[in-house]
């Protein structure tokens, strides 16, 4: 046993001294931290877009400018609500106590957004009261004393004047010609004393209202002929400005249609805001608590994260094992080792050493997750803490441990056998091909299985031992039948033992062999020998 320990210890120390090991350990907490800060960072990182607007019809300019301003005010209001929740004396307690089990699945931000959308008068009121400053003054007494100053979200779209010398009243095609170099980013224009890049040009021809499309076949062809508004931009990915303008203009066009048909615009608006409440219910939950809560959503999708984690962990450390074995073999260190210990001891030592590496890495991930969530107990990580509590109360973590260990032993056995019959990494990669094909399947099915966790695909794959760890991890939250759970576990244990026994036989002979990797038939003979 002492020699097994020595081999394991050496494997562990050697791998723990590699950069990859530390990158593996640190990457995960960094990713969590990044995702905690990412949303805030992304908001700040979104650049301000400058655009020019030429309305030769004179009908829509005011509408667009006001519409974009209203949109911006909406964002300010949203941010203000978030800000007041975060720093309010009164609200603080209630946010911390949000019970995820009862919270609707869509999350608080969407809730606020929906509220604002279906109640435009809130925003109207906010704008009517001339916006931010009065609202802040009103909020002040309700805020905690140490609340930081409110940061107004940046305006995302800024209208700039046409470049000097470009006339607005010329033909649209000529206008485009003159603007082209600005739009392509070859030249920049002045705005408030700074050089800025032109993001987009919105050009509205004189007769735009004559081309308003109404339902019917004709409308399908209209866009082809550039008869309406032209939106010029070389950045195709960021479509926010386009869709905002489109929405604002179309709202206006529809408003005019309503007026033209003598309909009461306020009534129309009210009608548009009506809705029926819609609840998602799950028959598996206790009676009276059937509402699908955010915790349920976490429970349904968290296994996907775990499957991915499991896959990465198993694959990485099995790869380590393979590399190590090939190093020992190609260096012929193996001979010295085998003059001191039996192949069985060597194999056990290697398995244990690499398992320790894997456990250290995954253990440190879980530990850092807990630490980060505990240390950063702000309002947004309250949510994360709840998430962690959900994980704790479900069977996800113990399932992960069991399937990690068994899955690791299973694949380590296969990789060890491959490593022992190959002399170079290149040879090993050839033999790894089929294994990788097998191993890739759970990554494909990972996203489908939560949608039908006890369906045919999931059940069939469960009973293939090579997939059992991943698929059962995937199904863990969906209360799979006991028969599947216990039965596949027993099968997995038996199969793993069989693979280890077999790879032990191959290892014993292959590890000393040089030259061409053996043919399949030869391998079978070794196993029988």
């Amino acid at each position: 046993m002492r020699t097994v320990y020595l081999v394991a210890m050496r494997e562990f120390l050697e791998n723990a001294a590699t950069k990859g090991f530390w990158i593996g350990i640190l990457l995960f907490p960094l990713m969590i931290l990044a995702s905690l800060y990412a949303t805030r960072f992304l908001e700040k990182a979104t650049p301000t877009r400058q655009f020019v607007l030429v309305d030769q019809s004179g009908e829509l300019e005011k509408v667009i400018v006001e519409g974009l301003e209203r949109e911006h005010q909406g964002q300010v209001l949203e941010a203000l609500i978030g800000y007041s929740q975060k720093h309010s004396k009164i609200l603080q307690a209630s946010v911390a106590d949000i019970d995820l089990e009862k919270m609707p699945a869509e999350g608080i931000e969407e809730h606020v957004k929906r509220l604002l959308e279906s109640n435009p008068e809130v925003l109207d009121g906010f704008i009517a009261k001339s916006g931010l400053q009065p609202a802040l003054d009103e909020l002040k007494p309700l805020l905690k004393d140490d609340a930081p100053a409110f940061e107004e979200p940046r305006r995302r779209f800024v209208r700039v004047d046409l470049p000097a010398g470009v006339r607005a009243d010329q033909d649209v095609d000529d206008l485009v010609k003159e603007l082209r170099s600005y739009l392509k980013g070859d030249s920049s224009l002045e705005h408030e004393g700074r050089k800025v890049e032109l993001f987009a040009a919105i050009l509205i021809p004189k007769d735009v209202l004559a081309h308003v499309q109404r339902p019917g076949l004709k409308s399908l062809l209209a866009n082809l002929q550039r008869q309406g508004i032209q939106y010029w931009a070389s950045n195709l990915a960021d479509k926010d400005l386009k869709s905002s303008v489109e929405r604002v203009v179309n709202d206006e066009i529809r408003r005019r249609e309503f007026l033209g048909q003598k309909l009461d615009i306020d009534k129309v608006r009210a009608v548009q805001a009506t809705r029926v409440p819609f609840a998602s219910l799950n028959p598996k939950k206790a009676e009276g608590k059937e509402e699908v809560s955010i915790a349920d959503v976490i429970r349904q999708w968290a296994p996907v994260g775990f499957v991915y984690l499991l896959w990465i962990a198993i694959f990485t450390i099995s790869q380590m094992l393979l590399n190590n074995t090939i190093e020992e073999k190609s260096n012929r260190i193996i001979e010295v080792l085998l003059s001191s210990i039996t192949p069985g001891e060597l194999m056990m030592g290697k398995l244990a050493g690499i398992a320790a590496v894997g456990l250290t890495v995954t253990g440190s991930w879980i530990l850092s997750l807990v630490l980060i969530l505990k240390l950063r107990a702000g309002p947004e990580s309250q949510f994360a803490v709840r998430l962690f509590e959900v994980l704790q109360t479900s069977n996800l973590l113990p399932a992960f441990c069991v399937y990690f260990l068994l899955g690791y032993l299973l694949y380590a056995g296969i990789f060890l056998a491959i490593g022992s019959v190959c002399n170079t990494l290149k040879e090993a990669q050839n033999m790894m091909g089929p294994v990788m094909m097998i191993l890739i399947v759970p990554l494909f099915t990972m996203m489908f299985i939560p949608k039908d966790p006890n369906g045919t695909l999931a059940t069939v794959l469960t009973w293939i031992p090579l997939y059992t760890p991943f698929i059962m991890m995937n199904r863990a939250a969906a209360d799979p039948p006991w028969f599947d759970m216990i039965g596949s576990l027993i099968l997995l244990v038996l199969f793993t033992a069989f693979v280890l026994w077999m790879s032990g036989r191959i290892f014993r002979i292959g590890i000393l062999r040089t030259g061409q990797p053996p043919k399949l038939l030869e391998l079978l003979r070794w196993i029988k020998a």
Binding site: T3, L6, V7, R10, E14, A17, T18, E327, E328, S330, N331, R332, I333, E335, V336, L337, L338, S339, S340, I341, T342, L512
Partner: protein
């Protein structure tokens, strides 16, 4: 390459520091006399055969190695030396026959008493020299702290002190090989098995290696090493085993090996030596025109090799030359080198092997 102080015999006695781990105790042991009557047998092979399919890698080899001897394992490439050594160490199992090491049926039972340097040398690239030596010593049963201490001392003694804490990938090939040799003897084994220890070493380090083997011998250890460089074997072996194509050709002392060659006198002359053929002491005459390669190719000189009777005095030849007016440029009746013995015994076999 810097060889450092090399090996110095007095250092053996110096190293005891009173704390007496196993190996320092051992160093104080008096060198055992090589007296065959009281010596136990360290290693014994009986009718050992190893088949790979149809191929007989080792064919019915028996041998016994007495304690304290330096045993040379000679043979051409592919003779089965490495296979035999691997079977001795129980890395592979013989097809038939028995092997006893220190009276035990398995080398693994006495692994702490055996040191092994394999033919193809390699080290963990990312480990330091000190760590590797300590690790292998640990696998052989040494405790961690003494193993590390011992590693440091060995590295210092063999001039690798500056490289002790460097990763072995930074070492030259020769240095790496030295580290591996040290790793194989760090636990002070009673039986040291070295497979081609001289290959890949420069002449200076070959010398260090020879000294190391002699040192082991002087401390009563048994050394078994394989080589195909006869000069080393000739200098340091007590006994040799010659094998070719898996079969044992010879097993015995160096003197016995040389006695298998006919006694001969070598001449170089331009005269006719017909008169010498007639001498009763001379059993055969070989003539050639290429120095050093006596053959029966019928050439008429100027190089001759005269085989003489077991008990004949080579002086007789000289006298006869004098009498018959044969003018000699050279007369040489030194004993044959091991190299000649080797070529004589395995020459035809080795050629066959290389064409197989």
């Amino acid at each position: 390459m810097d060889v450092g102080p090399g090996f110095c015999k007095d250092e053996v006695e110096v190293s005891g520091d009173g704390r007496a781990p196993r190996w320092t105790e051992r160093l104080a042991v008096e060198p055992r006399e090589n007296d065959s009557s009281v010596i136990e047998t360290v290693l014994e092979l009986q009718n050992v055969t190893k088949l790979y399919g149809e191929f007989r890698a080792v064919d019915d080899v028996s041998l016994a190695i007495p304690q304290g001897s330096v045993y040379g394992f000679l043979g051409p490439n592919g003779a089965g030396k490495t296979t035999t050594i691997r079977m001795i160490l129980e890395i592979i199992k013989p097809t038939s026959g028995t092997i006893r090491v220190f009276g035990q049926p398995s080398a693994l039972l006495v692994r702490e008493r055996i040191g092994y340097l394999p033919e193809e040398k390699g080290l963990y690239k990312k480990m330091t020299a000190r760590a590797i030596i300590a690790y292998f010593a640990g696998l052989k049963g040494m405790k961690r702290a003494p193993a590390r201490k011992r590693a440091g001392e060995l590295l210092e003694r063999y001039g690798l002190k500056d490289f002790a804490d460097k990763r072995t990938e930074a070492l030259s090939k020769g240095m790496g090989q030295k580290v591996q040799v040290l790793a194989s003897i760090a636990h002070d084994p009673d039986l040291v098995i070295l497979d081609e220890p001289f290959s890949g070493l420069d002449p200076v380090n070959q010398q260090v290696m020879e000294e190391l083997i002699e040192d082991l011998k002087s401390r009563g250890r048994t050394v078994l090493f394989s080589t195909h460089i006869m000069q080393h074997a000739e200098r340091i072996c007590d006994r040799i085993l010659l094998i070719a194509r898996g079969r044992k050709l010879f097993d015995g002392t160096l003197a016995q090996a040389k006695a298998t060659m006919p006694r001969r006198v070598r001449l170089e002359t331009d005269n006719d030596i017909q008169k010498l053929r007639a001498l009763p002491e001379v059993t055969a005459v070989l003539a050639t025109d290429k120095d050093g390669s006596p053959s029966t190719d019928g050439a008429s000189g100027p190089y001759f090799e005269l085989h003489i009777r077991e008990n004949a005095d080579p002086q007789v030849i000289l006298q006869a030359c004098f009498e018959h007016g044969i003018r000699l440029r050279r007369l040489d009746h030194s004993e044959p080198s091991l190299h000649e013995v080797f070529v004589n015994m395995v020459g035809p076999e080795a050629r066959e092997v290389s064409f197989r």
